[in-house]
């Protein structure tokens, strides 16, 4: 992807650059950080993650399947055990609960993968190995006409290195 990437050593300068970029609307901004920082989250002000919807749907499917498999197989082979009803709700709640957790958690992971767009084969576009270490990074997706403006803004805010991505 075409654009400009800047590496920052300090978090406050990164935050200032993000806020300025948002005001000037040069291009879509991606921020890299070695860890989660609230300062960056607030500056980016991204919408809430939709992973929770995957969790809800997965959990509901799981609990339904857990109860269904226990009830269906009991009625399919109707053998009275320990004087209990053929389909006993209380012990089947354990199966329902466990399958809810299993499917709900795996759906959460699927939701995270889909929304984060991972697994990804390449990390090269706009990424620098220092962004997992001690540096913060900002990538601005823009065409050549706006690249100079983006470079200038990043330098102005104290980026230690600025480069263009083809």
């Amino acid at each position: 992807m075409q654009g400009v990437v800047g590496a920052f050593h300090e978090i406050d300068t990164t935050v200032a650059a993000i806020e300025d970029l948002k005001k000037k609307r040069i291009g879509e901004v991606t921020v890299y950080s070695p860890t989660i920082r609230h300062e960056l989250e607030h500056a980016i002000d991204a919408p809430q993650s939709v992973v929770r919807r995957f969790t809800l749907v997965g959990g509901l499917l799981g609990v339904s399947f857990g109860y269904w498999v226990a009830i269906w197989s009991s009625t399919y082979w109707p053998l009275v055990v320990g004087g209990k009803a053929i389909a006993s709700w209380i012990p089947y709640t354990i199966i329902g609960f466990e399958v809810m957790v299993l499917v709900g958690a795996l759906s959460t992971v699927a939701g995270m993968f889909i929304n984060s767009r991972i697994p990804r084969l390449s990390t090269t576009s706009g990424y620098d190995a220092r962004f997992s270490g001690g540096y913060f990074g900002i990538f601005i997706a823009c065409d050549a006409a706006k690249a100079s403006q983006a470079e200038e803004l990043l330098r102005q805010h104290g980026a230690v290195e600025v480069r263009r991505e083809a």
Partner: protein, 467 residues
Amino acid sequence: MASVAHPVREGIRGPNIASADVQLPAVRDYEQVDRDIIATLGFTKKWFMGLSVAVLAMLIGASAWIYQIYWGLGQAGYEPPVMWGNFIITFVFWVGIGHAGTLISAILFLFRAGFRTSIYRAAEAMTVFAVMTAGLFPIIHIGRPWKFFWLLPYPNWRLLFPNFKSPLVWDVFAISTYLTISTTFLYIGLIPDIAVLRDKETNPMRKRILAILSLGWRNSDREWRHFAKAYLFLAAFSTPLVLSVHSVVSFDFAMALTPGWHASIFPPYFVAGAIFSGFAMVWTIAIPMRKWFKLEHYITLNHLDATAKVVLFTSMVVGCAYLIEFFIAWYSGVRAEQEFFWNRVFGQWWWAAWIMLLCNMSLPMSLWSQKLRRNPTWLFVLSLFINLGMWFERFVIVVPSLSHEFEPWQWGSYAPSWVDMAFLVGSFGWFFMWFLLFVKQLPVMAIAELKEIVAPRVKHGHGGGHH
């Protein structure tokens, strides 16, 4: 993740106070975190020696399994009426060990207890390997391990399904779900840290493997946003799961009418015992690890102090459960229960019961002393006693009950055979083999989360790093 660990605040607390959000004053910046944790991955002579001992112990267990498969389950030392012996005792022991890992990584995450940050990765790995170990024992116990899949509800030409009203089937669902979710939780937390290793790696082959394992993670704001939410929900799922798993294990006993087992106190009693024993195993692992890997400034005395308070609390819960069992036996007026509990402490198994009471109730009371809570040597020694005591707790639950049921003509005895002992040794070998392989391949501490509690560099104002 982001909402758990607090950045270093102005005025670090005195070094003698352990609180929920213990800080890391000796860690200066992000680069130091990377350096220190990556340094733990270098192979050493001590590590090779440890791994050799673990593999040897594992092979002893594997040999015993081959021997038992060839000669039959009778080699296990079972003697009617005691048909649950070492295998079920050791199964419950290892499931219990696993619980502290999930408590530290999930429950303490939801409770915003920052002291988990330095220890949760090792504890999570411990959980996965402990559950892997535990899961072997019911399979060993069935005698014909190749038939274990009969416990699963899969479509088959016989049109037969497992009995969903049986606690043993609940166990299958609970343990397999627990293993899957614990492994997923461990791996998801590892992804950003594997990306750190990938970015620092110089060997092209190793870099490629790490690139695949990190799934192309780039530390972007989009990835962190969804990661944080997924991690929160995984923790929210793991919390009731961990409480349910040992409750379900306790149902294996409590659903039976056997004296000493048929008690509604079992689920909370088992869960508290599991957390208690799991924290002891965390000490057994973390205390040598902090010394050998020179991580004293990450797992500080404040961290050990905070965990010691959890151990003290759970010891009192477990002790209270022991005493309530005696009270209920007396209060119930059921003669079989009363005689059973008298027999438990003064009968043929008195020595096992007193080992349990000494290790789990008495010795942990030393943790009322702050000096001992902050003494790593004592905590390590105590952890060994607690591990021993908790194995004997399961022995006291399983063997005396089965050997002393309602009818005197049913009363019997039990002595573990050499095969049982070999399996026990093998289980420790299997567990430590995986753990030792883990600590040299992947970060034993969560690099990304440690960075959350280290102040980032700032140009204008205060920060933990260089200005």
